[in-house]
Symmetry: D2
Subunit: 392 residues, 4 copies
């Protein structure tokens, strides 16, 4: 059994180096179609969101980047926003476009039958690319919410063809150091077809675009029962896994804290990452969170999420690869499984505590943040104004 005492130096190094990108919107209010509950202290603008992001990084040492969402994070001066982030020790990460909150997009955006609306949606991405240039971001992240609710409502193939054209225009606007990351989703906000419902469709479009396009895998965007680690392994094999959107689910796109619903699944995913050498930065996989803290406090929710990813990663790193390979090759089904489970069943929290201590961090970031008084402070200070949410 690997323990904190016996973990190899490269395990500690990998854990110390691991970074997770946070979504600015996780710090604002979110909810279901039934209700968005509010919480005292929630940020009212992108500057306050980034201040909260910086808290997560301060206590975990593992969250140095924040994804922005345009127009939710629209500001007059993006250089100022990037400088504000930099002052607080974090950087701007991926820029997320928004194709679901304009009345024009009721029946589609990049796939809309009307070329004028497609143009509007394409132009929005050019605006996002400008934000990338202003903030130093290199990843343009596109989740296409387009779809239909009723059979016959629109032509499935026609929408694919229009999508391909729209993506070509966006792709053509990228700088050479930019990437276009294309996310898929099984359903919601539309309930009959989605125009990018699965990794296959996302891949088909990425292959048509070129090397700067890659797939985003949101762990909550699959059909029930889908083996996600298989998709991870396949996309890494093809060199086309651009980023994760981490969260967890029991039913649909529940957007719960990553690792909360099925920690063993998260471990299996990270195991594919580790065994296929995709944890290191040059593999080009951006590990992001994308969650909704509907009923729990947001900053502690993000800290717990980062810790959950770290624990899954630590378990993946201590898998005895040689023993595993031997058992696999010899056809020892239970033996191979046992090697994997031995790592999973190990309590890696002491190991992570040590890695944190070596970096001068609190051993338990969740407890340390909760003891800091920051939540009380923002609840007291952030009075008045409009709390940020999915609309801003």
């Amino acid at each position: 059994m690997t323990t904190s005492a016996t973990a190899a130096p490269q395990v500690r190094e990998a854990l110390a180096a691991q970074t997770i990108e946070l979504p600015s919107w996780a710090f604002g209010n979110s909810g279901t179609r039934f209700k968005v509950f509010s919480t005292p202290g929630v940020p009212r603008d992108p500057f306050e969101k980034i201040a909260d992001v910086a808290q997560v990084h301060r206590y975990t040492g593992a969250a140095p980047r924040v994804s922005l969402h345009i127009p939710w994070d629209l500001v007059d001066d993006y250089e100022a926003l990037a400088a504000h982030a930099s002052d607080l020790g974090v950087q701007i990460g991926a820029i997320n476009s928004n194709l679901f909150q304009e009345d024009d997009y009721k029946l589609g955006s990049l796939t809309h039958p009307d070329p004028a609306i497609r143009k509007k949606a394409i132009d929005h991405h050019k605006q996002c690319i400008d934000v990338m240039r202003a903030t130093g971001s290199t990843d343009l992240k596109l989740w296409l919410p387009d779809g239909t609710n009723y059979a016959g409502q629109d032509d499935i193939r026609g929408r694919q063809d229009r999508l391909a054209e729209s993506l070509q225009e966006i792709y053509a606007a990228l700088d050479p150091n930019h990437r276009l990351l294309i996310e898929y989703k099984f359903f919601e906000p539309y309930f009959y077809t989605m125009d990018i419902p699965d990794w296959g469709t996302s891949l088909v479009h990425c292959l048509a675009l070129g090397d700067q396009a890659a797939v985003v895998l949101d762990t909550g965007h699959h059909a029930p029962g889908t083996n996600i680690e298989f998709i991870v392994a396949q996309l890494v094999r093809l060199g086309k896994l651009g980023a994760f959107d981490f969260n967890s689910r029991n039913y649909a796109d529940d957007d719960l804290i990553v690792g909360a619903a099925d920690p063993f699944q998260l471990f299996r995913i990270m195991n594919e990452i580790v065994t296929n050498d995709a944890l290191k930065e040059e593999a080009g996989v951006n590990f992001m969170l994308d969650q909704c803290h509907n009923i729990e406090p947001k900053i502690p929710g993000q800290i717990r999420s980062v810790m959950n990813v770290q624990e899954a990663t630590a378990k993946a790193l201590i898998v005895d690869r040689e023993a595993l390979r031997e058992a696999q090759i010899s056809g020892d089904v239970l033996g191979a499984n046992a090697v994997l489970m031995d790592a999973y069943n190990t309590d890696v929290r002491p190991l992570l505590a040590e890695v944190r201590a070596e970096k001068g961090l609190a051993e338990d970031p969740y407890a340390a943040f909760n003891a800091s008084g920051y939540l009380d402070q923002i609840a007291a200070e952030r009075v008045g104004g409009q709390q940020a949410g999915w609309g801003a």
Copy 2:
């Protein structure tokens, strides 16, 4: 093959007598957590909603009742609202309580650990019972949105016990001619546990309460693959099917137009109703719609829904029951299926057109309404104010 020419008189009578209750909220705006699209002409208050309900009834002749939702349909004078409805030819149907839009209910309502919040939720039902008395409604419809998002968040059994107590208090407040209809739902707005997730739980509580309690079956509230007509047959057998909430789904609680996603399923459901003699009024099954017209116009959406239920019912009514029973008893698997499919494959639209014509209605209510100019009229008239939605 049964056709409009050969349909038995009792089939025509049953179709002519069938009624479907409409939800007031289907005429307001709805959407997903991502966006609520607005539409010109949407009602701004319960009186305008009822005016739109009356249009559906005017053209279909089959929608004489409207469900209210409290507090969305809060008015100062419910007698006036009931009189307004009556003037327009419709009546107030079930009164729906709302347990999901108070900040107090973030962690539960009737199941909340805090007795003060449970009391608030119970009192809300007493308020609804007052509305029932004022409007002549006899059905109190309770959908419990309570649940949890994370394992350990609350005690599953403790919540059941508190729920049982809260329901007892509500039940005790009913008048003798009132019913308490209890709906179940698989998930949403919570994503780990729901406190009434399935028909079994709903039934357990109804049995504990007594004869005035019955189950509401919402066709969109089941796990993937669930055989809904089995549940219909079982609840009818137990005398505990109080009402339907009709809608359709491909993925989750999509709330699409009933019959749109799987018309064969709707037929199979109505077949169990017909074969178990639960279509007639004395069976006590209230056939209601509960849908969201997120992207389509609302009144035509409701008209189409009523027509879909009528078509499924007509097909169920023309099943050759004797031939079916013979094939079933003789173990003729394909033959029995063929009898059912013969009815399903029949085009019953001519038959329904005749039944409508006999009642002095347009043969195609959808076309007739669209030709009436009503949508243009309300778009022109209903300017200013706040469009109704799930919040009002």
Copy 3:
């Protein structure tokens, strides 16, 4: 409303020309892991299976080809088998390989860690290619049952790499007029990973192989809720839909009669075929059945299946494409849906009866076959010997 009286000549021609390929194994016994029920008259060898296939073609006029499965349809003399088929008016269609019934394949076939076992599995396909040459078949159909039951049991990516190599060897053995059709499946017979679990994986391998490789879509091989017609449209768009395996399902790979579980889905699938011009022979889509008649008689089950596909096709053919396109372009959600539903709700059985009568066939093939006495005849004649099943 389109009726038999108004259907355009090209609709009748398309229906008259449509062919559906039957699987030889549907005429043998099948069942679940719990029990294989037997039926009097079931064929005992490939010659008797083909005799039964010919009955389906005799009464439907639409089933002129039979898929063989090797080794279940192993015979000494394939020319003789092909001649026997030809004498009865049918031809040999696709040759299906079998990778799931050798003890050697317990842990994989084309993906097995042991190169000797991979070679055995590859060689089996070369044997199948010889059968193709002997019978005039041009389609080699490969369903890969390989997978794992436990996390860690084998290396996911390693298996993909080995699969790619194995497929290359098989592909290299094809004649220029041959196709390699690669099927995917969500789960079963393995329950953790499948090595080709989805259309994306199948496509990735087809793209790596070349123009002679295409995807097989089995309608029962998807995750719950998957929108199958989207995949159909996408694969047709990419020129990579090689064949269907038609059947229907409510839960898993139930292999029920096509159109029995969800006739509207079958219509939507055929609608994508028709609207994307993939019904005509030069589109290269082979429409096959793949079903298990566990409890119903097999020949009538196949006849019903052919009729179900024909009815869905007829409905797809009578969709008013111009009206549909107009409604789609104008954003008339309900109007577009109504155009589609108008076709679906039409009773096309009279039209198909006419098309059959024009070909000199009985108007109702199911009734005509049942009246023929053939089932009694084979029950009387086929006494002794071993009934064919999945093992032979």
Copy 4:
């Protein structure tokens, strides 16, 4: 953090006392409808199966009972079989009836339209009750495989009524110390309706029967996404949880090793057992395994399964109940979850090793058994004859 050093004595006692019942059929061959792979050394009769059961008990000290399946475990002299078991240190547990392997049951057993076939199925249970008397078993376990494959095939309600009658007859034949345990299943071997598809239906029949009837919860018999621990809590609350059939699944009724697919789910289930005081013997919950070791060796598979249940139980036992309750009552969502996860994340293997050592057992039963040479021994000895499987 609770560790082996700090675990309370009552935790150790509960772990030392826990027993898990093994199914005789897990030691025979099993498979899918595609293939049953064989393994050297597999038992050829019930006596050899019990010898293998005894091995699991010898190394785990926690598996003192074996469930029999009639007729698979049919012997001439059940007293001799019970004595054989007793000699090897184990006892006969539940008697399982078999309603799925007679040709007569093709269209149903206890629900069959033909009273003669229902009588045959009822009589089979009387035979099982005789086996109970001969072996000292007190639990009659009934899994009803009955169902239909096609809509219309039979009358859903009629089948419920016939089922209720058949169950009454079986129940009337029980001795006063007997229980009738009724299992439900979502689907398979039928694919349209199952006659007992869910816990609600099982409960309805148990309530109609009386106090000697209780529900069996098989962890693999639910719709995708079903929250199983909720059902556990509800059935315990109602005093109607009679037994578990433990196994794990990713897709359907996969019958994998319990805890293999989702160890966190198993922990949550055991957490409901522990927190609702249902672990102790007087609660009347029989914890049984029901699995298929299709590709892995059977005895090690059973040992691993017992260990997985023990680990989940240990984690449930060390939950800090007071801290949990406080967090729950105070509405501390993340805090309550953290209390639960602290137990789950603890490595309880050292604690279990100590508990075993205190009982004089090997600390790692899996390793100890594998080192024993028993598998080689039975492979050498059990040559010739017919290996046991689901047919015998």
